[in-house]
């Protein structure tokens, strides 16, 4: 009996000791709310960067890198407003033909050199001459250096949109050392900027590592306003950031589930429920995400005929297309005609009556009026971007249903971009865009006759002239509405709608920009590391 009691006592004591040492492990850890420094932030991206030259690409994947390492004279905040960054301010003269920009002092590049006016002038000139979106500064006449920390930009005519051009994250006008500006476009392999992180190491298809820049200018002179998207006070909380190209979406998802990545971009929208219901995972829906579109060839083929272009526009059921893109998840898309997202001050639905008509009978009437005789329509899409591929599939079927003789050609992206330059080789191509931040930025794509599709009209060109020079918001908005309506009438660029991107992250990661535009992980810290 005594032996039995001893046994029970020892067992209870052992159990008690076990609980003392293990219960804290099994119970929920209380993580203090507050900033935390240290660690390596691991971000799974959708693939390898095609270039490390910010001026040479419009691809979103390239722009994922640059907010970490580089800055421009301005930056966009979460409301898409321009805020000075490396510029202290910007002041136009009376007619906005000359802009004076005082620069921040004591800003160091990653190579230790201080940023001065010569670097800024060289960067602007390189961008204005060679970047893929250089058309935005086509009226720039010259850049003059006033002193080491002041420059002036001279334009051939009034140019009201300079702050937006200096701030846009798409093909950003980042400031680099003068020596690096002498590199041929597309041939920068180790970018040097002024950002909170600097380039450390890259092995293509494996990783791109960034490390904290300990001489970042905002450590000593922080901006007074807190971080808001790309603008404001930026802090490098983690020691390093690793961008890990993981092209296979299932692998990205598995890696997130296994806590190998902290943040993962572009997950299938069908995984939203799983992310939400998993204790340690957190989904974020990026709104706005992408804007699928298509362009009709106004220069060659059957769509020189505006009645046939109208037939295409009224035939399309945008709801069906967006459902295909988002796997039927209605919460991941919205029907909207605006060439700006609803979150932006420039949004307008002035052409809602011409959007998503989805009337096959009306389409047939326009086809008859246009004298369509069964000519083959070459519709180009690509599998390189899933949403473009799905758009092409659904559009092809919808147009076939109304009687168009559609030949759907799937090319890889480089082939598609080459072929679309030749008006003899296609009739419709599918594409997409992320954000335009100002109506003036649409000038390359619609109305000026530059971009494949060759949308051109004197009325739209007139709109751009005003948009480029007018500073009054109400007048600019009026021009934007005219532009958008004219575009809808012309039926060269046809917008499908808006769809949203699903990202995922671990709950232990504090990312203030989780649901914001593009892919931002600035000012992110790791609160809790999972083992």
């Amino acid at each position: 009996m005594r032996r039995k009691h001893s046994f029970i006592a020892i067992s209870l004591a052992s159990l008690l000791m076990f609980m003392m040492f293990t219960v804290p492990v099994f119970s929920q850890e209380k993580v203090p709310e507050g900033e935390k420094y240290g660690g390596i932030l691991k971000i799974a991206t959708t693939g390898e960067l095609p270039t490390l030259d910010a001026y040479a690409s419009t691809l979103t994947i390239v722009q994922q890198l640059f907010p970490f390492i580089a800055e421009g004279l301005g930056a966009l905040d979460k409301n898409f407003a321009s805020r000075p960054m490396l510029a202290k301010s910007w002041e136009p003269n009376e007619d906005a033909t000359v802009w004076t920009i005082p620069l921040r002092q004591g800003v160091l590049f990653h190579n230790g050199k201080e940023m001065k006016a010569t670097d800024v002038k060289a960067s602007i000139e390189r961008w204005a001459k060679y970047s893929v979106t250089r058309a935005r500064l086509k009226s720039l006449e010259k850049v003059e250096i006033i002193d080491d920390y002041t420059i002036e930009l001279y334009f051939r005519g009034p140019f009201a949109v300079l702050p937006m051009v200096l701030s846009t994250p798409g093909t950003p006008l980042i400031i680099m050392p003068k020596e690096q500006t002498e590199t041929t476009i597309g041939k920068i392999y180790e970018p040097i900027g002024t950002g909170p992180y600097k380039f450390k190491e890259r092995v293509p298809d494996q990783y791109l590592k960034l490390e904290r820049f300990n001489e970042y200018w905002q450590i000593k002179n922080p901006l007074p306003h807190p971080n808001s998207a790309y603008a404001g006070h930026k802090i490098a909380y983690t020691d390093e950031v690793w961008l890990l190209p993981t092209p296979e979406v299932s692998t990205r998802l598995a890696g997130l589930g296994k806590k190998e990545f902290h943040i993962v971009d572009q997950l299938p929208v069908g995984e939203y429920g799983h992310l939400r219901d998993t204790e340690y995972l957190q989904p974020s829906v990026v709104t706005p995400g992408q804007m699928p579109q298509m362009y009709l060839n106004k220069k060659g083929g059957v769509f020189k005929n505006r009645y046939l272009r109208r037939a295409v526009k009224v035939a399309l059921n945008m709801d069906q297309i967006l459902m295909a893109i988002t796997e039927g998840k209605k919460e991941f898309y919205r029907l909207d005609p605006g060439i700006f997202y609803q979150e932006m001050i420039w949004h307008s639905d002035v052409d809602r009556g011409l959007y998503n008509v989805a009337d096959p009978e009306e389409a047939k009437r326009w086809m008859k009026k246009g004298g369509y005789n069964g000519e083959e329509i070459c519709l180009m899409a690509t599998k390189d971007y899933d949403y473009i591929y799905k758009t092409g599939l659904v559009v092809a079927q919808q147009l076939k249903d109304v009687g168009f003789n559609v030949n759907l050609r799937i090319w890889d992206w480089p082939t598609l971009t080459t072929r679309r330059k030749d008006p003899e080789l296609w009739d419709i191509f599918c594409t997409g865009s992320t954000n335009m931040y100002d109506p003036y930025m649409w000038s390359k794509h619609i109305g000026a006759g530059i971009y494949p599709g060759w949308s051109e009209s004197d009325e739209m060109k007139r709109c751009y002239e005003i948009l480029g020079s007018e500073t009054d918001f109400d007048e600019r908005y009026r021009q934007l509405e005219i532009l958008q309506f004219l575009n809808s009438l012309e039926c060269v660029m046809i917008k499908v709608g808006d769809y949203f991107v699903l990202r995922g992250q671990l709950k232990g990661v504090h990312n203030p920009n989780a649901g914001s535009q593009r892919f931002l992980a600035l000012n992110t810290w790791i609160e809790k590391e999972y083992r």
Binding site: E48, P50, Y130, V132, P204, Q206, L244, R419
Partner: protein
């Protein structure tokens, strides 16, 4: 034998020339311009400058000999998308691709040859039936699908292995094995299935031969009859299959590399094609050709080793 080896090496040269010619001209006629693919819609004068820097403005009959003689001297050019020497890029990828290929073949051999032998020896038994069914099954399952299943089971649910990525051997044996084992299993399944089938078929043929009956009649142990007399004679076609498999693996398996995010030759090739990075495409194809030539030579030499009746004079 030495003469034979030298002759084969010399014969490899015209083979490489022809392969080089074909790949060079094929990459030039594929649609998509490498310059605009890399730098986008830049001014025409910039495009002309870059094309001139890359030698793309010269006629093909000038470009090809320049490229070929550089290649012979070991200079494969510069990658247009990364700016790195192509040789350096290939050398970066080779450890992973070679180790993946070799480990896959080793796993395949370890599983498949014993199983093939047993299956043939025990023909029409349950072991034989199971091995045939399994072989057909593993041959039918795409390796990338198997890869997903392995990730789900061993990485996500069991947590034994990482889901993706690669750690070189120099960073530690355990991390290296942990990262490479799942891709090896995913690839090894199909390879072992092929080897099993070939081993079984070959063994069945050999086991029917008179000399096997003679060996048994002489009183030799069954193990000696099977392993020394039968297997050795059955190995010729098996070695051929292994050689072909190894050569294919050395070219990189794109699907597995994408699934497991491995920085191997396959991914390098597909990225180079997407970016129209001609020097890299040409470099990889030459490497694959070289691998095939080398493997074929080794296989031929192994024939002579396995079967003394085969001689090369």
């Amino acid at each position: 034998m030495l003469n034979y080896i030298i002759r084969r090496i010399l014969l490899a040269i015209p083979t490489l020339i022809i392969v080089g010619l074909i790949v060079f001209f094929l990459t030039c006629v594929v649609p998509g311009d490498p310059v605009t693919t890399m730098v986008g819609d830049v001014p025409l004068d910039v495009i002309k400058t870059i094309r001139s820097e890359w030698g793309l403005d010269q006629p093909l009959y000038v470009q090809f000999p320049k490229w070929f003689f550089s290649m012979i001297r070991g200079n494969l050019g510069i990658s247009t998308s990364t700016g790195m020497p192509v040789k350096e890029l290939l050398l970066q990828r080779m450890p992973l691709t070679i180790s993946l290929a070799i480990l896959t073949i080793i796993v395949g051999i370890i599983i498949a040859i014993p199983l093939g032998v047993i299956s043939a020896y025990r023909q029409n038994t349950i072991i034989d039936s199971m091995s045939v069914i399994l072989a057909v099954f593993w041959l039918s399952v795409p390796s990338f699908l198997l890869g997903f299943i392995l990730i789900l089971l061993f990485s996500v649910y069991l947590g034994w292995f990482p889901t993706s990525g690669y750690v070189p051997l120099s960073s530690g044996f355990i991390p290296y094995i942990k990262h490479i084992i799942l891709p090896v299993l995913a690839l090894g399944a199909a390879q072992s299935a092929q080897i099993v089938r070939m081993t079984r078929t070959s063994m069945l043929e050999v086991l029917r031969e008179n000399y096997i009956q003679t060996a048994r009649a002489k009183g030799l142990k069954e193990r000696v009859v099977i392993l020394k007399h039968a297997l050795r004679n059955a190995l010729i076609p098996v070695v051929t299959v292994i050689g072909v498999a190894l050569a294919i693996l050395l070219g990189g398996i794109i699907t597995i590399e994408v699934v497991f995010s491995l920085p191997g030759m396959g991914r390098l090739l597909i990225t180079a094609v997407q970016r129209r990075d001609y020097p890299v495409i040409q470099g990889i194809v030459i490497w694959i050709s070289f691998a095939y030539i080398l493997i074929n030579l080794i296989v031929d030499l192994l024939y002579a080793k396995i079967n003394p009746k085969i001689t090369y004079s």
